[in-house]
Symmetry: D2
Subunit: 365 residues, 4 copies
């Protein structure tokens, strides 16, 4: 079954493997008339590019994007936008060994069991490089949303047990540190923690928080295409994400109705919530306040510490995975989470255009 | 935009409001040849039926289901199965008051902002009764899965701060207590806690855990229709769910690669994992071990304690919500979570049939 | 695989069998704020109701529709609209015989080969009664389109070899004759022809023409969801339709570029076509002129003349089909063709709302 | 709205413009384990390549295809297959003139009216080159179908008024003449006719017939995803097609039930039809006999004869279109029709795998 498309009205289809010729995405349903060039997209891709600090893999990929269709004289035409990034620094020879066994925490085994065999070079389709298409498409979605006054703020909320402190929150610091944390103290502690783990050949998990501002109320379609349901799918589909929270998230299960309900009040003749436990979503629709979601991301499974596994002959063996691996995936996942959130929002925003007959009249009468 | 369908190959479409004439679901794509009668479906609906204990609303609905199509001589025919439940005990007059203000924690405001007005009787489409269609369809999905050796165990994991202790886990006790908890001690503490909350007019949150056994490996479609992504969307689409976890869930973000990776070993000439931090899903596909997911559910927003809100005239007011409300939604949500999981699994199981050319040969050659 | 849904943004799902308890449709994605009552829908259903003349089956069904959800205080709410029609005059006993053999021209054999068995009562799901859901949904689509200034004119163009003459075209006469022909002379000849066929136990085919006026230009999505492609699928999905034409249709294959091209000219400062060979569609999008399509419908396969077939034991046998059958399906198919056209148009009209970034600005800025 | 995807389980997404950098397609949902290389696809593309005779445009494109993903060690992996063809011989300068007016019979006007402007170079997305993606994907679908014993025979049935005579049918001759006609006499007459038209700067229409053999019975999903409905959409979505017929097609409307019904008989202990008026489809499902469909294709709209139109300033003008145009599109459309038919069939064939519970047991038990 086809599984590489996301979105209905604004639909993306990604393709490509870690060590194939190229990776890319087709963005179908982008409204005509958006100013778009390769630099717009490159800026997003650069946020997930490898080799930028000692906390990411040393693989040297420029990840330079080309627009192959759908843009004419600097504007989107309404027809599919095809984006491509060629693979360059792929040392497939590095991977001859891993073809013979199943790496713990990876999809090697499940790919074999599903399809009968796998493209083992660099993880094939299950590689983190698969997210290139998501981010390239996310850049376009984000640009449209920005035109409509909708903005995203996404960052590393925690690394291991070290969590950014809301008291120290500094949004400008996010892009100034390789971990994309919004708290200088936490970032420094996290870097020390990662240095230790790297030395022992281990890796760390962490969490990403994404906040969406300016989203009109009413976005999301009851009952299966709710905004939170869409965000949950979108973010959980990113490799290594194991939990998704909206607003107070897991904390709601130990709260009470009185504490968890956000009271309404009138402010500047607009109904607002006094608190935001709901994370900006009520009944699956945006409620006009800031949308807040968190993704919990598991530690990089590729570690050089000795691990136990099974090889293709069915022998129990010990392995030490070599190669160029990130000691933590989280910082590079920040822009992926943001992209998936943007793709979810643009699709539901378009879907909502027909929620009222009056909207059809605005366009057609 | 249409948002009331779930699934591609096995597609359900739900409809109906809390105080309309009826609620129902159309199940399209059910394979022919399944023995099915109303009792199969009723058994599932009875698990979410109101009025069964003091922990659920006193609304007296039999929630009796009728099969209107798609079954002939006791077997599914392959054509759409239409299921209907008529509403009986709807006191719409109870709700005349709530039409005048926005209840905190509810979807009243977002429905108004999206559609321009709302069916305010009992929450309309945003009522928990909307899940009748999900559960009726889930009963059918579960019956097919059972035929294929796939089973579900779902229960209330926690109520407020009170959590079932794995040491005391008793699967038979689940159906013996009104909270559907698998731990007698925890259930008793939870009931005492709920009694206290009820007295003060407050409500509690909690969490549900669902375990799936017997699922073949390889189910789930990279990269957007992964099993975990599908489950996350399915479960987050249930009203009041604010977080979804797979396997170790939120705990992975503070773990390390060495601790979080599940080592492989050979057992009875089959590759197995020594642990199950992954919750039975690797690379978005089932890995052959038990699938584990958790949903965190917010406290019932309808409470009789005094709350602040805004009325239609734009006045800040205080309210005390009357009516027949559950002090906790969680127990009745257990079967809803299970149903949504079953619907996700059956759809991906069918989708996976074409993963290999050899499977097409098995059917057609 | 599910196959009973049509449309993306405005999605319908039909269900029900000829002799089951009821038939119906769920209309999901209908914009909120449309005035709608049962009479609006009944008017459409009455155009396909049986027993209205000697040219339709004598089965006496009131085909009375009930709205079960999605409408509140006379307005659509934006949530799914569930419509139901109960079966009344079903003589299942009439059909005990046809369970034993395969009727030529019917789907008995293909249902058996696909699903392993079939609901043989009155053709089950392959009965013409399946179109009740289409027409009920079509009534809603048409009402929205009418609000936007888009109207339909649909009629029987030909019965057997007898074709309505454009010179005699009388749109008011369409609803005045049981064949829904727009030409009094042709209708009278057709009735005489049908009387003869009925006497010998035979049946006739015919064609339906549908014209759509007021459709804005640019409706239809290149390259697979073009307006003509959508109309072709919609109309060909009606049982008994064997050909679909747009504009000059089959005649284009024997024309030349010079004769077939429609020249443009300026009229009242709007670009118009001097002719309409294209049938109002260029490049798969409406071009602003009248959209014209034709459906060719085969003769009723149920005839009382002696036919050869095979029974369940594998014997070659001769049969004479009894029961209450239409000598021609075409007149009752007129409203079905119109409904499927309306459903196609409304879905693409909504889809087109996001064709330009400016349209998003109109709704959200 | 996105409109460039076709298929559900076997989904293709095409992209690219006539004079952009490249054109291509992503094929998602292709089963793993199919032997596939570029030559398999090239063979199909060569059948639609320009510049092969005086009856096709002189544009010199090699149309060389590259596989960018989804194939590993000669086998499809189950992940998306990305195919690309670079544009080479695009003389965009030829088209500077046509940017200033609307060509009759083309989509220039409708693109402008839908999107606000258009990529006018060579027709942009509405160019016949858009079909490259369809044909490349169709080659893969056809290869799978061939493995399952399903084959296609497609040819030019008529050119203008000149129709292939069934008496002279010679399937081997099809690939031996530039018009792909199956009748030597008809082909010669057609070439003479085209020579005359070319001299006067005019063009011809024609029809294509496609026959599918070996298709199992029961393929197609009642009621909206019927085989004939899918084929009609697929083929009508090809630019220039204005009518689609199944089996006897338009002729059924003037036939009678007795003449049009195909009688059943037992042959080699299998139920067969004595005739094939139905074109191999009953009730929207394949009936086990040869599937037959026809597409009627309008004459090339680009002609050098003087035509009337309007320019961007709103002046009525006369034009003579220059450039390299096919005097007839039909021969190059043959492989496009075949490809769209193959894509329709593979998708429904996969969809049908879950028609019976027993099929799920075959795969999973």
């Amino acid at each position: 079954m086809a599984g590489s498309s996301f979105g209905n009205a604004f639909k993306i289809t990604t393709w490509g493997e870690s060590h194939g010729a190229a990776l890319g995405v087709v963005v179908d349903g982008c409204p005509a008339g958006l100013k778009l060039n390769e630099a717009d997209i490159q800026a997003f891709l650069d946020r997930r590019k490898p080799g930028q600090s000692k906390y990411t893999t040393a693989r040297a990929e420029g990840d330079e994007v080309k627009i192959l269709s759908g843009v004419f004289e600097g504007l989107t035409t309404g027809t599919p936008i095809s984006l491509i990034v060629y693979n360059k620094d792929h040392h497939s020879s590095d991977y001859s060994e891993i073809s013979t066994y199943y790496r713990p925490g990876h999809a090697d085994l499940t790919f074999d069991l599903k399809y009968g065999f796998r493209d083992y070079r660099g993880g094939g389709r299950s590689s983190g490089r698969e997210t290139i298409g998501r981010v390239a498409a996310g850049a376009i979605a984000s640009k449209i949303l920005k035109e409509l006054g909708i903005s995203f703020l996404t960052y590393t909320l925690s690394v291991g047990m070290i969590k950014a402190d809301p008291e120290n929150f500094d949004s400008e610091y996010i892009l100034e540190n390789p971990l994309y944390m919004p708290d200088r103290d936490a970032a420094e502690k996290a870097m020390a923690y990662l240095d230790d783990l790297r030395k022992e050949g281990n890796s760390a998990g962490g969490s990403v928080e994404c906040r969406i501002n300016g989203l009109p109320a009413g976005i999301g379609e009851p009952v299966f295409d709710k905004l939170d349901a869409g965000l949950a799918r979108a973010v959980m589909s990113i490799g290594a994400v194991k939990a998704v929270e909206i607003g107070d998230g897991t904390a709601v299960s130990s709260s009470t109705g009185y504490d968890n309900n956000d009271f309404f009040t009138l402010k500047d003749s607009k109904i607002e919530k006094k608190t935001n436990h709901s994370g900006g979503i009520l009944g699956g629709m945006s409620d006009g306040s800031e949308v807040i979601l968190r993704a919990h991301i598991k530690p990089t499974p590729s570690i050089s510490m000795t691990q136990e596994t099974v090889n293709k002959n069915g022998d129990d063996i010990n392995i030490n995975i070599k190669g160029r691996h990130d000691p933590i995936i989280v910082p590079r996942a920040v822009v992926v989470v943001e992209s998936m959130a943007a793709l979810t929002v643009i699709d539901l925003l378009i879907g909502n255009m027909s929620s009222r007959l009056d909207n059809l009249r605005k366009i057609y009468c």
